[in-house]
């Protein structure tokens, strides 16, 4: 009971719907400590991903993720573009041409995604970025898989941990990205990218159930 290409496409569509639904909230978070475009950027990117999936779903989960990656890289226009783009690209490369993804593949793919974001943006846990959501999500996914969790359980564990990780950015001083220019004044706000990571993983988990 793995995820085939159609299922992965459905999961991404759910992610796009969630981004559209929370666009205003992401914009407000980014207004507080950035340039108020994170919701706009991601929505533009995911809308393009969805229309490309509408035009045709590639054959393998890896190819679907690769389409998402290249589309996000081209369309987002802010830091989230190269970061999420690299995340999806690394996951796609790691998953190769497998026709279905099982729980182990999901955990492996998430790990590759995190490695990609860190390689691209050079942020560490505690810098108040999307890494603060994604890093604990990967660890939770790996734990869940080790405990025998299925695809839905692994993604759900990742989503829970990502939400906690996003909340943990509130008291932090941002050390990467635009918010880092605010120094201490970034304290007291949730990081937009960490929040969108948590939202995406939540919607992926629900769509994979």
């Amino acid at each position: 009971m793995g995820c085939d290409a159609e299922r992965v496409a459905a999961v991404l569509r759910a992610g796009g719907a969630s981004v559209a639904e929370h666009k205003a909230e992401l914009i407000e978070l980014d207004r507080a400590i950035g340039d108020a475009d994170h919701g706009e950027n991601l929505d533009r990117g995911f809308a393009a991903v969805l229309s490309s999936l509408d035009a045709g779903v590639p054959e393998t989960p890896g190819a679907v993720l690769k389409t998402a990656a290249t589309t996000l890289i081209s369309k987002v226009g802010g830091a989230a573009g190269p970061l999420y783009g690299t995340a999806f690209l690394r996951a796609a490369t790691k998953l190769g041409d497998a026709s279905e993804l099982d729980a182990a593949a999901i955990a492996t793919g998430l790990r590759a995604a995190l490695d990609g974001v860190v390689a691209r943006g050079k942020a560490e846990v505690g810098d108040a970025t999307m890494v603060d959501a994604l890093a604990p999500a990967v660890e939770a996914a790996e734990r869940s898989h080790a405990d025998g969790g299925d695809v839905a359980a692994v993604l759900s564990a990742a989503a829970d941990a990502a939400k906690e990780g996003a909340d943990s950015t509130v008291p932090l001083t941002a050390r990467k990205g635009r918010a880092s220019y605010l120094g201490e004044r970034s304290v007291g706000h949730a990081d937009p990218g960490a929040t969108s990571t948590a939202l995406l993983l939540r919607s992926f988990a629900e769509a994979a159930r």
Binding site: D37, G77, G78, G81, P82, L83, G85, T86, R178
Partner: protein, 238 residues
Amino acid sequence: MSGERVALVVVSHSGGLADGVAEVAAQMAPDVTVRPAGGLSDGGIGTDFEAVLAAVTEADTGSGVVVLYDLGSAQMTAEMAVESLPEPEAAVVVDAPLVEGAIAAAVSAQGGGDRAAVADAARAAAGRSEVTDTAESADGADSEDAAAAESGAKAEITLANEVGLHARPAALLARCVADVDADVRITLGDTEADARSVFSLMSLTARKGDTVVVTATGTQAEDAIARITALAERNFDE
């Protein structure tokens, strides 16, 4: 001609900013290709991967490309664009102040610097101490190689051109000694400037009527002095 020189790409969140930086840099380096890649395709603020990739691809005429960026996603987008080239080694993304770095890189490229030299010139524009105080650097003078002193040359030049060693004349001066095998210094009063550095030269704020001392050491020291003297005699082509 431009095919032999390293090209530059200026990546910015703003189309206006990228265009402006490219314009200012190109003015100092007439034979260098400087391509701006700024803003989103709809004119909004942001970085456009495809525009950056196109600029890097079009700029490269065979000698490689040095890419400068303003901040954040511009760096990441530039790095992704370079990684996706058929030959990623053809381009390098440098961490440098955008305006000063672009100008320093343009001058270096105009002088025939290779990709590594042009990239270094851009990086060196960061936090450069613009002039070296001769009083402070006097320490090292004693230990300076006697042989180097032998191949040294010196001249005094009184600036007759209207603007003195301002941006354009400074760029011309730096360019005329860019490929000479000699260390060339220009001194005005107590302050000394590296003749290859436009910023260093401009920081002397040497004006019309000022007399500067040009010293060169190295195998082509005489040649360096001759070129600078000739340039000054032509009133920096003003």
